[in-house]
């Protein structure tokens, strides 16, 4: 009798696990199918096209590694890499400095803290394209009208600054929130001990606050870098890569020339290389910054 009981007990959980598994599967499989259809399949197809001279229409031939070899000698691709890296680098720095300052401000003992936090988060919920078009109008009509200058967007040497401002304006919202949550993990008593030890102002930030929020700094650096390397919407809305291709980001070039420039195969190769570059940079960043994180 006793034995039978224990056997039944052994069997029972197994059955529920399979039921649970079936539920999981029912939820997961449709998503997996969709993901495969709209994400994995195009990725594989793009990878295959990168070995062809497909124009986006008509017939095509296999060209082996030819596209990849050409990538490294193509001036326009090189220029877009330079622009994208420059933009990503400076915007990441700008965003992190500004959002850290904002977070420190919004974490202080001030009035209307929650309301202000909500307000500063607003840019994040707007679409990048919308923001881009608003700023386009702002740079094209409002700023020149006030300062009696030509539009910054028409300047080959300065248009990237406009792109940087727009990218930063929107990204700061999310980064600030991440820094605020980071600052809230620092226990108050650490600051109290610091107050008695004489750590105030800058030394308080340098010796107490910053070391304790480095994990959040890492996340922000990596996310920023990745997002800005893949910048597309803002370019689309602001400059369309111009003037004179001076603000042509890699994603934009891939889209533009791949879709309407008859370089589908070539830009697919570009996309594959770009994918590898981004993964490499992110992994490298994580490794490097992780090693700097304090082991608490």
């Amino acid at each position: 009798m006793k034995k039978k009981d224990s056997q039944a007990e052994l069997l029972k959980p197994k059955k529920t696990v399979t039921e649970r598994e079936r539920t999981f599967a029912m939820i997961a499989i449709p998503i997996l199918i969709l993901f495969f259809l709209f994400n994995t399949l195009p990725l594989i197809k793009g990878f295959i096209y990168s070995f062809t001279n497909f124009k986006g229409y008509g017939s095509y031939e296999w060209v082996g590694l030819r596209n990849y070899i050409d990538l490294f000698t193509d001036a326009r691709v090189g220029k877009s890499y330079l622009f994208t890296v420059k933009l990503a680098f400076f915007t990441t720095i700008l965003v992190n400095i500004v959002s850290l300052l904002m977070a420190l401000g919004l974490n202080a003992k001030i009035k209307f803290k929650s309301a202000l936090r909500g307000m500063y988060f607003l840019p994040n919920i707007l679409g990048a394209l919308v923001v881009g078009y608003i700023f386009n109008y702002f740079f094209t009509y409002i700023v020149p009208a006030i300062f009696h200058t030509t539009s910054i967007l028409a300047s080959g040497s300065k248009a990237w600054i406009a792109v940087m401002i727009v990218c930063a304006w929107q990204a700061i919202a999310m980064n600030t929130i991440i820094y605020i949550s980071g600052l809230q993990t620092v226990p108050e008593d650490v600051y109290e001990a610091g107050m008695l030890d004489g750590a105030t102002g800058w030394s308080k930030f340098r010796h107490l606050t910053f070391p304790l929020i480095i994990p959040f700094f890492t996340i922000n650096m990596v996310l920023c870098m990745k997002n800005f390397l893949m910048v597309f919407d803002q370019i689309m809305a602001l400059t369309k890569g111009g003037p004179a291709q001076s603000t042509e980001s890699i994603s934009f070039l891939i889209y533009n020339n791949g879709m309407s420039g008859g370089q589908f195969g070539f830009q697919s190769a570009n996309a594959v290389i770009f994918f590898i570059v981004i993964v490499t940079i992110s992994v490298f960043q994580m490794r490097f910054l992780n090693s700097k994180e304090e082991q608490l």
Partner: protein, 370 residues
């Protein structure tokens, strides 16, 4: 080094709670002041106000001759051992202790010397490279202690600095603190729940309750002449026994009537009671467990103050025995010699030392006579 002066200090938290009320205390240079009181009575709050971590709502705080109400904590030259340690989680033990000196731009070799010296005293030599998360509670507490010691400030504030140590280490640290006090000649304010620490370390003890100072006095005076019922019950362990008694006069002598018993009082106490107009009134009598005896010699000596009770609990403490017995509708405790023949269920005769009977007013709870 400097003394402190707290004049009418009050603290009202933003939520309206009054944690400290009209706190007055003059602390001389090099004094060792102990704060005791039940949990939540405002000890930490007072300490934090002295440190400058909490705004002082009312009153004046002076260090030396200087009013420091609005002085930044770092400029008060105070080191604090926090109740919850408040170590820097990202720094090693060494850096935790060195940080204060580093912020004060002390030369590196001096810092090193101070930290190693403190580590030696506190038995932390082996742990200098660890982070706080890799330490036990007691070890963290010693690091917090070390952080204060290396600073060598005018005033030390210590909020239950030994509460997490094992018994042996606690005794060892207690002597270290006493020695430190002698050596540095610093003013120390020390919060503790430990009676032994309070009695042995303090030059004076401050007893608090609900944010109000009950009595400030030397350990001996607090023990022998508590100002009120609260202090009498709070100081001493096991705590003082209290029972209601009616003051009466018999044959020109003042006695206490407890149920059917009559307890004879020494003449001085009787006079004080009569002078206060307590004849015929109910008062609270108090006697410490160590002033109750079941030995024949004492029973003979204090024959005027003998009571009887049935032993309910027998606690062997090693060096002594605590007997709990019912008397006059209360539980009483007697601390007697371990050789006592009394056991649970026995009806035992106890002698009260009449000189050690304290008498309190039943309504004001203030002491009438000791």
């Amino acid at each position: 080094m400097a003394g402190l002066s707290l004049e009418h200090i009050g603290k009202k938290y933003p939520n309206g709670y009054e944690a400290v009320k009209d706190f007055n205390l003059e602390i001389a240079d090099k004094e060792f002041i102990i704060f005791v009181g039940p949990s939540g009575c405002g000890k930490s709050t007072t300490l934090r106000m002295i440190a400058g971590l909490e705004d002082i709502t009312s009153g004046t705080l002076k260090i030396g001759d200087k009013v420091v109400n609005d002085l930044e904590p770092k400029d008060r030259d105070i080191a604090m051992v926090f109740q919850n340690y408040a170590l820097y989680p990202h720094m090693t033990v060494y850096d935790n202790m060195a940080f204060g000196l580093k912020m004060r731009k002390t030369p590196k070799d001096e810092i090193d010397k101070a930290v190693r010296e403190a580590a030696r005293i506190l038995d932390l030599d082996q742990l200098l490279k660890r982070k706080p998360s890799q330490l036990s509670g007691g070890q963290r507490q010693r690091v917090a202690m070390g952080r204060a010691i290396v600073r060598n400030p005018q005033v030390f504030l210590m909020d239950e600095p030994l509460s997490n140590l094992d018994a042996k280490l606690r005794v060892q640290m207690r002597t270290e603190i006493a020695r430190l006090h002698d050596r540095l000649g610093a003013t120390i304010i020390y919060v503790t729940h430990d009676q032994t620490e309070a009695m042995t370390l303090g030059t004076r003890i401050v007893v608090m309750k609900d944010g109000v100072v009950q009595q400030v006095d030397t350990p001996t005076n607090l023990y022998n002449e508590p100002d009120n019922l609260f202090v009498a019950g709070f100081i001493g362990s096991p705590q003082m026994n209290f029972f209601d008694a009616v003051v009466a006069k018999e044959d020109d002598k003042v006695v206490l009537k407890v149920g059917g018993d009559t307890l004879a009082l020494p003449a001085a106490k009787g006079e004080a009671l009569l002078a206060g107009g307590y004849e015929g009134k109910t008062v609270v009598a108090g006697i410490r467990p160590e002033d109750i005896s079941d030995e024949a010699e004492d029973l003979a000596k204090f024959s005027g103050t003998v009571i009887e009770g049935e032993v309910a609990v027998f606690e062997l403490l090693g060096a002594g025995v605590n007997l709990n017995f019912d008397y006059a509708d209360t539980q009483m405790t007697a601390s007697v010699a371990p050789t006592t023949p009394a056991r649970v269920g026995d009806v035992v005769r106890f002698a009260l030392d009449p000189d050690k009977i304290h008498i309190f007013d039943k309504t004001t709870e203030l002491a009438i006579v000791h």
